[in-house]
Assembly symmetry: C4
């Protein structure tokens, strides 16, 4: 199977996840600014999740860029990633509705952690299918950023019970780490090309 339909399907799911999150920004009762201000936590959660989904879309492209074919395990590793990302709107809404209480903040981290693990598994499936020593293997390499993210998510989940703002702050930290686009694949490809 070619990679095009996998990309198109993943893009479709990510575009829908990105957009239906806004449905959790429920229209407030009344037209006052305090009514609007009550949505601020939900809005901030929404902004963070919007950035995360956009990062996953971006990185997913880079990961599949050096790939031509996909097999069954890759397809299911990709579905597994989409499953955890599909829970982001729910975790976002629960965190926003409870004004960043410790447990929702920790749950949000669990969803990010599982998505991070699923992304790592997907990259491993891709490397295995395209053999070691390949362009992709060299480009994704040890995936230090991916492993670091997973470690920070785990720390954030635990620390959010001590102080929820530490957990929430660490999610922003990981987002910032990834906002710098993953130039590793581009660099290796440019060197070899």
């Amino acid at each position: 199977m070619g990679k095009n339909r996998l990309e198109a399907f993943s893009d479709g799911v990510l575009a829908i996840i990105l957009t239906i999150m806004v449905l959790e920004l429920k229209v407030p009762h009344g037209d006052s600014f305090p009514a609007l201000a009550g949505l601020l936590p939900t809005f901030i959660s929404y902004g963070l999740s919007f950035i995360y989904i956009a990062i996953y879309w971006n990185n997913h492209h880079h990961l599949l860029h050096a790939v031509k074919q996909v097999n069954g395990p890759i397809l299911w590793a990709n579905t597994h990633l989409l499953f955890w990302l599909s829970l982001v709107p729910f975790a976002t809404a629960w965190m926003g509705a409870n004004h960043f209480a410790a447990r929702p903040v920790a749950l949000y981290g669990c969803v990010l952690l599982m998505a991070g693990v699923a992304y790592y598994l997907l990259s491993q499936c891709l490397i295995r299918f395209h053999r070691a020593g390949s362009l992709l293997g060299a480009a994704v390499g040890r995936d230090a950023k991916g492993k670091l993210s997973i470690a920070i998510y785990a720390a954030a989940i635990l620390l959010s019970f001590a102080n929820r703002w530490i957990g929430f702050g660490l999610y922003w930290l990981v987002a910032l780490i990834w906002l710098v686009p993953d130039r590793r694949i581009e660099r290796v490809m440019a060197r070899e090309g």
Copy 2:
């Protein structure tokens, strides 16, 4: 008509079905873990349906892989399949909200049964249009797995009134049968190619 737009439209509908199901995971009141745990049946239903839609997406690709052209009956057989699949979010939500009571479990099976029948009809339309003895005819063959699934769904619907867990368990069994991707078409194509 070429098959590309049929594939793209079906992919779009399946991506949306997959993603809007998560809207049934309503944000619980309060930030306690018991409040979250109350969503567990809905979450398990969601996971099962997510797998089913992903399986249909996967099998739909394999089915259309050996196909070049589509005609009117194929188009409407495909629409018929999408109709039953579009009811999966509803059946999922009813089953989850009622903690796997017998009737919702049976209804979930009815939707799966109708989708299974619709998929079978679609495959027959494709075989008829592309003539017996074709690559597709040989690859899809007697479609033992499809017929077995339909029989299991029918049994599960009836048995769920005796014990709902039998019905629910059988749905997982069919999912497992299909999680092994359909290598028949790939095998025949590799042999002929």
Copy 3:
């Protein structure tokens, strides 16, 4: 501008309209069959609208099949069509929730009427842009079916105040007329090709 992105965008909007309609099938309270049976009017409305959107998707393809380029007026005529079709989920839900009361049945017809007029305007924009005597002009021709549909919608709206079942039945009649795919374009193209 090429027609590909217009097609892709229209397909996306139609796929979403088709699928979000199911969100109006609200999960009933309780797990009883009477609770489920209460959804029957909404379900029947859903089925009719599903068929209509599928017909529009199908006819939209046939209409654009003979087209290579699109201009500004075509683009906005297409947007105008999508606007009226986007109101189908709302009209469907109101008709279902009120068990086919006269006024919701009439409103449903108004939305279909406007969509029918918008489709006619779109076909005229396409014919004008591609000149008289073209393949498209010969194929779409006088569009007897489109004009007949508009007349039936208008009659159905008025008659639904006398007897709502007449109006509702006429909508099914138009759907049946269109379920026979539009072979005119195919026929002319086969003759000329």
Copy 4:
């Protein structure tokens, strides 16, 4: 990275935004015309936002038409634009639910203002990446229409506190300005081609 996936992803998000707005047209209680008439403000808001999203889709195409490649900053400028556009359904619903009260009308303008600024930033990123003197630079030029829109939005936000209908009217004015499709790129390309 090629521009195709950026276009496809943006199209997907815009199609979803366009369509989920209709979910805010909540089915009224009862089947009376007054019940329906109560939705008129929401319907008018919906129509205006539908036009705006269609304009953005149209202009986005024209902007990317002369572009072949995209880089990281372009990608994030595009995500930034999609973020503000994703808030249009929320602002639309709040404005409709409060019958065009001053504050919701002003907020609607703020979302349009931010989207206008984001569009301007995106066009600047595209011009910088494709060098001055290029086809795109000449075509987008000083972008007088974009800057004018931003100024009108700012005026509309302030004036809506004096008289909300002035603000609301100015949003329609900007929509009308843009409904004339942006022929600048087409003209320059035709001249050079």
